[in-house]
């Protein structure tokens, strides 16, 4: 390096100096990000103004002017400024459990808590072992037994009475778990160039299902499937809706995974083949782990959409969380507080989605192994 004063080469290494104060700290950040140039400053001021207009009234309505106590509906009707959370306190069991028999609602509650525990447990990678599949099978069996009853002295509860969050969770969780392996097979099948029939079936399935709205699949599953069934054989409405959801999601998911497969360099296949791995060993050990890893963001995207789309089962008269909430407005006493109801379940939907999103980000970081070769 050259000394600027003498123009001579300076053999001493320079000591590190502090950056100028204007580029660090709160002030530096503000200047660099919010007030760099008149246009950005204008935008910042405009945004602050809008926030000032929106946020305080919203918080007042949600929290400060809201009625939190367990009061009758008349009291709420007099309070025009704030939300009426008394409505939720009054009706939360109807919202959360729908038409499930009131005195038996501990059963879906225990089921949901258990399911959440299993989900939480499965989030740890060190438990990703073959036995985890058995844990899941067991958990689902217990869940269905708890809800359906009829054994161990539990009163039988018909599945058309199941509702609310337990139903939504059942549809979503089974949808997620079953659609995943199905979509892997579809994605691999679609890429099986040397098996034209398998490939054609997969392409046909994916393109057919993807081109149809979920609502029409649900309708078809509910009203058309029975027409093809021999008389006397009926399939539970819940199962029909579940099948429609799985079929729908797997077609989307398989395309997401196919995208991941296509992103892998050919060398990965060749490296695996050259060492003598069979097709399935190669897929299982080399190709799919990498393809799934790079597809995590769009996979989660698909799952979030599907989680919220479970609310469409209302049209085939399954009382999911959304329909249960709407039914809770039926009482004329409380009818005007529907916004509170929607805010409440929005928070529930949001919590699950936020959890999925955060977990997927964590997973991406945990699975990252440095640069790609």
């Amino acid at each position: 390096m050259t000394d600027p004063t003498t123009g001579m080469s300076n053999p001493e290494p320079q000591a590190a100096r502090k950056p100028p104060a204007s580029s660090v700290g709160v002030l530096g950040w503000l200047r660099g990000n919010l007030f760099n140039g008149w246009f950005n400053s204008l935008l910042t001021i405009l945004a602050l103004y809008l926030l000032w207009q929106v946020v305080p009234p919203l918080f007042n309505w949600l929290f400060f002017d809201a009625i939190w106590a367990n009061v009758p509906a008349e009291v709420c009707r007099e309070n025009r400024e704030g939300a009426c959370w008394a409505f939720i306190r009054e009706r939360y069991r109807l919202i959360l459990f729908g038409t499930y028999p009131f005195d038996q609602q501990w059963r879906p509650l225990v089921g949901v808590l258990m399911l959440l525990a299993v989900i939480g447990f499965s989030c740890f990678r060190r438990f990703w072992r073959p036995w985890l599949g058995l844990v899941w099978l067991g958990a689902l069996a217990i869940y269905l037994t708890l809800l359906g009853g009829g054994v161990f002295g539990l009163t039988p509860v018909r599945s058309d009475l199941w509702g609310g969050l337990p139903l939504t969770l059942l549809l979503a969780v089974v949808g997620i778990v079953v659609a995943f392996p199905l979509s892997l097979l579809l994605a691999l099948g679609r890429r099986a160039e040397n098996m034209p029939i398998v490939k054609a079936i997969c392409v046909g399935y994916i393109e057919l299902i993807r081109g149809v709205p979920l609502i029409s699949l649900l309708f078809m599953a509910s009203f058309m499937l029975p027409l093809f069934m021999p008389t006397g054989v009926t399939i539970d409405a819940l199962i029909r809706a579940q099948v429609a959801i799985i079929v729908f999601v797997s077609s989307y998911l398989s395309e997401v995974i196919r995208g991941g497969l296509q992103a892998l360099p050919r060398g990965q296949y060749e490296g695996a083949q050259a060492m003598g791995l069979t097709y399935w060993q190669m897929q299982r050990k080399i190709i799919l782990p990498q393809a799934i890893k790079i597809s995590i963001p769009p996979i989660v995207n698909t799952y979030l959409g599907m989680f919220k789309d479970t609310s469409l089962v209302a049209i085939v008269s399954l009382t999911d969380l959304l329909l249960a909430t709407r039914q809770s407005f039926a009482d004329p006493e409380w009818r005007q507080f529907f916004v509170e109801g929607y805010v409440f379940i929005a928070c529930i939907y949001w919590s699950f989605c936020f959890f999925m999103s955060k977990y997927s980000q964590h997973l991406e970081r945990a699975l990252s192994t440095g640069h790609k070769t």
Partner: protein, 269 residues
């Protein structure tokens, strides 16, 4: 044509003894009238080639002459359309069992390493032995560590490929193939994706490997390597084997004009 039997006097290596007791002059790879097309494009034309056990062969030739295609046909990464390829007594057909059997015996090292980035170095090395050769994990790991020591990077065992330099990755790739205890090793331009200072570390490993008596088919432009290691140099151009000879003969008295032109190109600098 296989008159240039490798002189491997220094047979200190134990693997040679463990291999099938076969006469030394028996060909392990035999290609008879092999032809291959990519669509209408005739890449390999009437290839006749035999590689003997313990022979070290260097394949060279201009870009696009079909060198990669030739060695990729040996383990069926490419399919040939006419002719016969027999590897260690097994003929390559569409029978997937036979293909897998041959791939178990033939190691391959690629220009771009093709390590598995989601697996650690050790897992890269033990994958084949555990899943293909059904070895117990502990044995596979012990073998893997032995080979990592042989390629001089045992301390990298628990890193991921993405954290290693190119030269280290290629040495891991060589170790990965060796862990399968192959009878033949194929190399497709193993040093041409490497920075100059890393080429030597990989070539050194390959030279040591040659000294242990491994049968090797190496596509490379490293003529120094060809001179020191090869028993036979094969020159390809336009999908044909133009010339094959001892390295000394090959470099000093090339027979064909095309070889001369190629050598003057490559030895110019």
């Amino acid at each position: 044509m296989s008159d240039t039997q490798g002189v491997t006097a220094e047979e200190k290596h134990c693997e040679a003894a463990r291999r099938m007791p076969a006469p030394d002059n028996e060909a392990i790879i035999e290609m008879v009238d092999v032809n291959k097309w990519f669509g209408q494009f005739h890449v390999l034309k009437d290839i006749n080639l035999a590689v003997n056990r313990k022979e070290r062969i260097v394949v060279c030739g201009p870009s696009g002459s079909g060198k990669s295609t030739l060695i990729r046909c040996v383990n069926r990464l490419e399919e040939h359309q006419a002719g016969r390829i027999v590897v260690d007594g097994v003929e390559l057909t569409n029978d997937i069992k036979k293909i897998e059997q041959i791939r178990r015996e033939v190691g391959m090292v690629f220009q771009h390493f093709n390590l598995f980035p989601h697996l650690s170095v050790l897992e890269n090395l033990t994958l084949g032995p555990i899943w293909v050769k059904k070895q117990p994990k502990a044995d596979a790991e012990a073998t893997a560590m032995r080979y990592l020591e042989r390629v001089k990077i045992p301390e990298q065992a628990n890193k991921y490929p993405g954290q290693l330099s190119g030269g280290q990755q290629q040495r891991v790739a060589i170790a990965r193939s060796l862990c399968m205890n192959p009878k033949v090793m194929l190399f497709d331009e193993p040093t041409s994706a490497l920075d100059p200072e890393m080429i030597k570390e990989v070539l050194d490993v390959m030279i040591e490997l040659a000294e242990t008596g491994m049968t090797m088919v190496v596509v490379t432009h490293e003529m120094g390597f060809a001179r020191t290691v090869a028993d036979r140099v094969i020159f390809m151009d336009g999908g044909e084997v133009i010339e094959q000879n001892h390295p000394e003969e090959f470099f000093h008295n090339p027979e064909s004009e095309r070889t001369k032109a190629f050598l003057s190109q490559i030895l110019k600098h």
